[in-house]
C-alpha cells in the first residue's frame, strides 16, 4: 500500500486544548502503559507534550513517536484523572488519524494479523469496536478504531492475532508471574482481575521479587494469593486460566465487570470460558469449585476484597491441589482393584 505524506490535519484543532494541560502529571499513575514501563515518556502527559512538539514544529514526526501514540489501551483512566478536563484519548485518536498510512505508521498495542490466519472471520465478528475487517484477501485492523481490548487475540483459533506491544498483558508475561508466585511456600491462589472491575493497578508496578523490600502497591501483598490484572476479562484465554493449576495452585478466581458493564462484552466471554473449564477440571480429578468467576463493579475495592476472602476460605477447606488429585487417584485405584 502506498504511504501518504505525514501532515498535521486532525490534530490542528487541539492546539488550544493542549495549552489547557497544566502538566500536573496526575494521569501518570493511572496509566497501565506507564505502570508497566515506569518511563515518563510512556505516560499520557508525555503523549500530549510530544503532540505539542509536533504542533509547534519543535519535533519532527517519527516512527518512535507514532509507536507511543499507538500504544494505549483506551482505558480512559487518564481522562478521568485529568485535573484540567483534557479529553486525552480523543486527542490520541486524532493523532493516530494523522499518523496512519504514513511512513511512520505503526501498530503499538493494536491487534495485528499474523501469517497463520485462516480467514475464519471469528475476530471480525467478535470485535466489539468494528475495528477488524476483510480486505484484499486478508483480515486487517483499523488502528484508529481498535481500542486494544485484546478480545481478538484471545479468540483466534490459530493464535494468529497478537499485539506488537503488550505491556504485561500477554500470556508469557503473566505466566512468568504465576510461576514466580506459586513457587513460594504460602502461595495458594491466583486472582485474575480486569483493569475496570478492580481499578486501579496492573501487576506490573507491584512485582515483589525482592526479598527484603517491596515495590509500592496499593496494599501489602498477601502471601497466599496474587492479583494479576489484565486489561479486560475477555483477554483471559482458557489455557491462561488453567496455567496456575499446572503449578499446583489451590484455586483460580476470575473477577470481571457485572453484566452489561463491559463495553467489550469480555465479561460474558470470560464467564463462558470459566463454565467450560469446570468439566475439564473434573476430568483432571480437580474439584471444579477451584475455579470461580465473580462480577465486581468498577472501583468496588471492598466488594473485590470480600470476594477474594470468601474464595480463600472455600479453597482452604478444599485443601492443596496435590492432596486432592492423589486422593482421587487413590479412590479410583481402589475402585478399579475392587472391581
Amino acid at each position: 500500500m502506498q504511504k501518504r505524506k505525514f501532515e498535521l490535519n486532525h490534530l490542528l484543532k487541539w492546539r488550544n486544548t493542549l495549552d489547557k494541560c497544566i502538566r500536573c502529571g496526575y494521569c501518570y499513575e493511572h496509566c497501565p502503559v506507564f505502570k508497566h514501563t515506569r518511563w515518563e515518556t510512556d505516560a499520557p502527559r508525555a503523549k500530549l507534550i510530544m503532540l505539542y512538539g509536533l504542533l509547534s514544529c519543535q519535533l519532527e514526526p517519527s516512527k518512535y513517536m507514532a509507536d507511543k501514540i499507538f500504544s494505549c489501551f483506551n482505558c480512559q483512566q487518564c481522562v478521568a484523572a485529568c485535573s484540567s478536563g483534557v479529553p486525552l484519548t480523543e486527542i490520541f485518536a486524532d493523532a493516530r488519524a494523522d499518523f496512519v498510512n504514513t511512513e511512520f505508521d505503526t501498530t503499538g498495542t493494536t491487534s495485528v494479523t499474523g501469517s497463520g490466519c485462516g480467514n475464519c472471520l471469528t475476530c471480525v465478528r467478535a470485535c466489539p469496536h468494528d475495528a477488524r475487517y476483510f480486505k484484499d484477501g486478508h483480515i486487517v485492523t483499523d488502528s484508529i478504531m481498535c481500542q486494544s481490548c485484546g478480545i481478538c487475540t484471545s479468540l483466534c483459533p490459530n493464535q494468529s492475532v497478537s499485539s506488537t506491544h503488550t505491556y504485561g498483558t500477554d500470556r508469557v508475561y503473566l505466566n512468568r508471574l504465576i510461576t514466580d508466585f506459586l513457587q513460594k511456600q504460602e502461595a495458594k491462589v491466583i486472582v485474575f482481575g480486569c483493569n475496570w472491575s478492580y481499578y486501579p493497578d496492573l501487576q506490573s508496578s507491584s512485582y515483589d521479587t525482592e526479598s527484603s523490600s517491596y515495590i509500592p502497591i496499593y496494599e501489602k501483598p498477601d502471601p497466599e494469593y496474587k492479583i494479576l490484572i489484565t486489561m479486560c476479562g475477555g483477554r483471559l484465554t482458557k489455557p491462561l486460566m488453567l496455567d496456575p493449576f499446572l503449578e499446583n495452585a489451590w484455586g483460580v478466581l476470575v473477577a470481571c465487570c457485572p453484566e452489561g458493564e463491559c463495553e467489550n462484552d469480555g465479561n460474558l466471554t470470560s464467564a463462558k470460558r470459566v463454565k467450560a473449564l469446570k468439566p475439564i477440571l473434573s476430568s483432571l480429578d480437580i474439584n471444579p469449585d477451584r475455579i470461580e468467576l465473580v462480577n465486581i463493579a468498577h472501583g468496588d475495592k471492598a466488594g473485590f476484597q470480600k470476594a477474594i476472602d470468601n474464595f480463600m476460605e472455600k479453597i482452604k477447606t478444599l485443601g492443596p491441589l496435590v492432596d486432592e488429585r492423589s486422593m482421587n487417584q487413590q479412590i479410583r485405584n481402589t475402585k478399579y482393584s475392587t472391581d
Binding site: 500536573c24 496526575y26 515518563e40 518512535y64 485529568c82
Partner: protein, 477 residues
Amino acid sequence: MKTINIPKLKEIVGENNVKDDPADLFIYGSDASVHRAMPWVIVRPENVEQVQGLMKFADEEKIPVITRGSGSGMCGQTVPSQGGITLDMKGMNRILEINPPDVYCRVEPGVVDDDLNLALKPYGVFYPPTPASSRTATIGGEIGNNASGVRSVKYGATRDSVLGMKVVLPGGKLISLGTRTRVEATGYQIHKLIVGSEGTLGVVVEATLKFVPIPKFRCLGMANFDRLEDAGHAIADIMAGGIIPSMLELVDNVAIKAVNKTMNLGLPDVEAVLLYEADGMVKEAVDYEINTMKNMCEKHGGTGLQSSYDAKERAKIFMGRKKLFPALSKFSELHASTSLADDMAVPYSKMAEMARTIHDVAKRNNIIMTAYGHCGSGCMHTKILMETSHQDQWESARRAVAEIYEYVRSVNGTTSAEHGIGLSKAAAFKAEKADSLELMRAIKKAFDPNNILNPGKLMDAPDDWVTATDLRYIVES
C-alpha cells in the same frame, strides 16, 4: 551542546535505562511550570551504585545533572536550562523498611507519596506532608522542594518529617545524614539543608521519614463571608485562638465563580469561603476545636455555617476546593491556567489584604487571577489565567508577578511556601534573601565545586523568568 558518551552511560546504568530520542528529550524538558528546555540525555538509575557511578562520570566530565521525580514541580526546578543529564529517579521506588516501634520508615526517592501512605495505612499511621499532587509526586521530589499541603498547618512540611537520608555527592561519594531518632542536637543537621535544596547539593538515594497516627475523628466545616477582609480576620483569630486546625483553606470569589460556572456546584456568590477542619483521637477534643473555629467565623460575620464528621458529607463540603484546578482550567476557551507567583506566604493578619492585593494587581494588569490557599499555614495560592499565545499577556504577567512579590516582601512574607523557587521565582527569592545569597553560594560550592548539580537555579537563576528559558507555550510575536 556537549557530546555525551552514551555507551559509557549505558555501561553504568544498563542499556535499557538510557534514552536520547528527540521525543524523549522534549518530554523530559518540561514540568508543570511555564518553562521548557532540552536535556542531552535521560538516565534512570536502579540502585545506589549506579547513581554513584553516574555522579563520578558527570563530575569528571563536568556535565550538568538534573535530578527528577515525577516532573510535577511548578517553578521549573527540573527544567534543564543548561542541558545535561536528567536523572529520572522513578526507577528507585522501593519501600525499604516500615518500623512501627521506632516510628520511622525508609524509602527510596522514587516512591510516590500516596503509595507510601497506602503501605503505611495497615499500621494505622500516615506520612503527613501530603501535597495536592500526592498521587504522582515522589518522596525525592518532595524533599527537593520541601513540599507541604493542606494539613501542614498541623503536621508541618517535608522538612519536619525527614529524620535522615543517604545522599550521593558529585564525584560519587555516598554519605549518611541525620538519624533515626525523633530529636537530634548533634552538630549541623545537614539533612535538613538538603530538604528544599532543589537538587543543587546532592542526589538523595534514601530517606528516613517519621510518620504520625491516623486520627480517629475528622470534622470539616465551612463558612461564607460577604467581605474578604472578614474571612481574613477570622483566620487570624483562629490561628491565635489556642487551637491547631488540621486544615484551614480560603477560596476567593474568582475561584467560587469558576467552580460555579464550570461545575454547577451552587456555591454561594460571596467574597470568600473558609473551610476549616479539626482532627484527633478524642471526639470531645475535635468538637472543641471545631466549635472554636465556628465561633470565630460567626464573630466575624461568617454565615451558612455547617460541619460534618461523615466522610461523604465532608467530601461534599470539600468538593468546591477540590474541583478548583479543573474549574480554573475550564474557565474559558481562551485562557490557560499558569503557575506564576503561586504560593507565597504572609503573616496571618495580612491574608485578607494579600488576597485583595492579588485582585487589584490582576485588574491593573488586565489578567485574571484567583486567590485561594492553605491560610492556616499563611500560604496563599494563585493561578494566572491568561491567553498564553499573546506576547502582551506575558508582559502583563511579568508586571503582575513583580508587584505581588513587592507586596509580599513589604509585609515580611516569603516568596514560596510550598512550590519552591526553580526558575520562576528567582528574582523575588534573590531580593528576599539578599543577605544570605553569598552564604548559599558558598554552601553550594562546598557540596558541588564543579557546579554540576542543577546549575542555573535558585540564586544562580536569571532574574527575568519570562526569558530564563523558552516558554512551553507557543507565543505569537
